[in-house]
Subunit: 513 residues, 2 copies
């Protein structure tokens, strides 16, 4: 039999009616992690690491550079000597008791809201890069255009459930940059936005823009996070001024801090996975405690980003087995605390090549099997974060989409096993192209790739022998050309732009450090 | 502190003695799978699939093209109508009872022996390709030179624990080809070799060459597998002449058959994962039963290689979410039977690009989380098996090596957590390069990559801006230039060559079909 022999299909097509098989419908917006959590350490070892983290905070302490934060810790019961803050385990226990175990981030549309808790799964593209790169225009310092374009690309793919500070728009003056990045995230996407913690004035500007543009009251804004920031400690054991200020500002205003010590084993962290994660855990607990001292119940996410350096050169490496194991260990500690947690993939490669693909995917699997709630740098991140690649965001999305497909699972009922509709319908050495089961599902059963190409060598050669990167260039160019964006309320847009004009005239808000 | 301030290291170096930190020592030869098995279906669904496989064999039957095999099935209790063999569940149960659950493959050296059972983990490079390709010489029909070179590459990496029929040496006449491939595997490597099932005369030649070259008796050879073959059914439900003959010959002589229906969902198998794996399971059970009817206890490995086709073009796809889920389902059925099982990774890409890397790694993770014992096509496989790539074998080995590192696990004892030797030894915002813990481990803690490059963009550019493929070219060229091979007993080599000369003069042994 051939496809043409299938009368059912011919019949429906003859009348110009709908096709026999329904179109494919996927939902990549609300994912649950289906992968069994993997443990690298025993529960006793995890308990010993937690205990050592507590001892580290009690005996070695954190250096906190912001006097206001030191004062919050002191009032909360910490022993303070100059900038050194010694945090007791009772304070940590209290913070872990009040930190929410489940957080809903409010996006521009309700079906873009994100749930952050152990078991949920949220992807975010590569973030924080000073440079952008693509095959058409080369590698260059990040610009406003790059930030806007990257926002459009991130908006396009449902598998990115939150926005990231993708690329630094270096051509926008620093005292006005937060206006630009916030306006861009409000007008080109309706996903959960990111706000940098670069001092109180910028944070307050961003909160006001968000609140008014989203049309929520002060109370509504404070009641649920409408944005998030990333807080990196200065490992080892230092919390600098803008990061401490960010923890205070975001907690006080009910907005989400994702606390992430960025620790490279052998450099700013111990060379061992166990040691590095013990340090990272201690620093995360200190920062989480600060948020809960400011406002018990403030939304905060436990975070880890631990990989290793190459001990010959000191250069950072990503997607290594050590990175993978660090993600597993961090996941075990996150489950120990019960908090949602973020981890990270990423690549050290300088171009989007095989190394970049393998590193990023290896990093992803460490996060997935570590049970991460949020996986940052899940796509597009090159050079250990010094650039984001337009092609790599496309090729990595292919992997993320397939992981999202795995989240949906598969059925094995009578229809799927298909003794009557498939197995007994085809003779030995025959084919299943026209089996009833196939005809009912040929449009819907399989994921449709966005950049992978299954043509054979001859056809592929005739079509120009383009590798995945070259095909990815066309994919991102088409997305940018389509320029799909959410509808925006004209009045709110005017309010936003007036606010930015007023605050620009007032001198904006330089970043603090 | 800097590295130079470490007195311990200076002291040992001053005397010209060994370095303070030991060299890295890894063992990739005997791996256990550390990844928690993932289930895509419930145990009830798996039982229903097994039940439907039994029904398929009982009611729909297998078409068996070799009369001798039909007769074996008939004598074993099967109902036979012409070439159709209807196999009862009692026969399947009996076969699963006698098939060994643990198999040791005997290689050329005892430390190359492989253990095949649920829980052990063995990798094999891409196999069966008619073409070879590399950046230096382009894509060409496979040749004797390619087969030899690929054998040397496979021999070089411990993470390949068994040999594969990598590439077809098309310039060797088919009636002599088995002499060439066996001699090559005996002289260029001491790993567990592969023998094609292309008729009894070839198999007997190969068994004799192996037995004599390994220096074992007839009884010793029959008592343990010294080689293996791959048996592909002709899905759906057909067992052709050379494959049926191979099952009989290998079982009768105590050699290992790896039974693998190669089923593409939507083409030669049902479009659903559940249907395709039910068919694959039925065919594997039929072939396994044949081996046990020939010789109860004969070594046989359960196998699956199920991916999907692109329903728009009919082209095979690999490393997809459907492929991943099929591996999980097959793993569940393998555990249901208790047999060691093989799965497969692979790529549909036409070049070793980002697609090729992502597909292969995605396929690998499906196998790993499916608990596969043997993962075939784990490296180097392009175009859905129509070519093997010299560069891809190198870039994939990087991933396999890191997976082998994950098999080794990590410790989290007092030394690794390192409160005294690391955490308390570094001031806030300091670095750990010279911490006592680092100094004791800097040579040994991290995997050293073979092709991944961690240089920053500037350094990488100065060095020629080579991507991973270009660097991989140098890696394989260096391995071939070094030409490391196991020592070979001169007398046995002479015996081998005399045998080949005699059998060649007698006309060799044409393949049967």
């Amino acid at each position: 039999m051939t496809l043409r022999e299938n009368t059912g299909r011919r019949r429906t097509r003859r009348g110009g009616g709908p096709k026999a098989a329904p179109e494919r419908n996927v939902n990549y917006r609300n994912l649950r992690n289906p992968f069994p959590p993997m443990e690298v350490f025993s529960s006793d070892q995890i308990a010993a690491m937690h205990e050592t983290s507590l001892r580290t905070l009690e005996e070695l302490g954190m250096k906190v550079l912001l006097p206001e934060a030191v004062e919050v810790f002191r009032k909360g019961g910490a022993r303070v000597v100059d900038q050194m803050v010694y945090i007791g385990r009772d304070m940590i226990d209290a913070a872990l008791a009040t930190a929410p175990k489940s957080i809903t981030g409010r996006a521009g549309a309700r079906d873009r809201d994100i749930l952050l808790e152990l078991g949920s799964l949220v992807f975010q593209p590569g973030a924080g890069a000073p440079h952008a790169t693509d095959l058409a225009r080369g590698r260059r310092p990040g610009s406003a255009r790059d930030f806007r374009e990257y926002t459009t690309l991130c908006h396009h793919f449902d598998v990115f459930q939150m926005m990231s500070p993708s690329v630094e728009p270096q051509d926008v003056p620093t005292h006005l940059r937060h206006f630009f990045t916030t306006e861009t995230q409000l007008t080109l996407t309706d996903k959960f936005p990111f706000v940098f913690a670069r001092g109180t004035p910028q944070a307050m500007d961003c909160f006001e823009m968000l609140r008014d543009f989203r049309g929520v009251t002060d109370d509504g804004f404070a009641a649920a996070p409408h944005c998030y920031t990333i807080i990196n400690t200065n490992s080892p054991r230092t919390l600098d001024i803008p990061m401490a200020q960010g923890l205070i500002d975001f907690a006080r205003n009910g907005q989400l801090s994702i606390v992430t010590p960025f620790t490279l084993m052998g450099a700013m962290a111990p060379i061992t996975v166990a040691g590095a994660i013990t340090l990272s855990h201690a620093e995360a607990l200190a920062a989480i405690t600060l948020t809960q001292l400011v406002k018990p119940g403030a939304p905060v996410c436990y975070g880890t980003f631990t990989s290793n350096v190459d001990m010959k050169s000191g250069a950072p490496a990503f997607g290594t087995s050590a990175h993978f194991q660090a993600s597993l260990a961090a996941g075990q500690l996150a489950r120990f605390t019960g908090l949602p947690w973020r981890s990270a993939a990423g690549s050290a490669s300088n171009v989007n090549d095989v190394q970049a693909a393998n590193e990023n995917q290896m990093g992803l699997w460490g996060c997935l099997m570590g049970g991460a709630t949020v996986i940052i740098h899940a796509a597009g991140w090159l050079e250990g974060g010094l650039s984001v690649s337009y092609e790599k965001i496309i090729t990595d999305v292919e992997v993320l989409n397939m992981i999202a497909e795995l989240c949906a699972g598969k059925q094995a009922g009578v229809d799927e096993i298909g003794f009557d509709t498939a197995l007994s319908a085809v003779e030995p050495s025959g084919h299943f192209f026209a089996a009833p089961q196939t005809m009912a599902r040929y449009n819907t059963e399989f994921y449709q790739p966005i950049v992978h190409d299954y043509a054979n060598f001859g056809t592929w050669t005739e079509r120009g022998a383009q590798d995945a990167n070259q095909r990815a260039t066309k994919v991102w160019q088409d997305i940018l050309a389509a320029d799909a964006r959410p509808s925006v309320d004209g009045e709110r847009l005017e309010t936003l732009q007036n606010f930015i004009a007023k605050r620009t005239a007032e001198g904006g808000a330089p970043p603090e450090s």
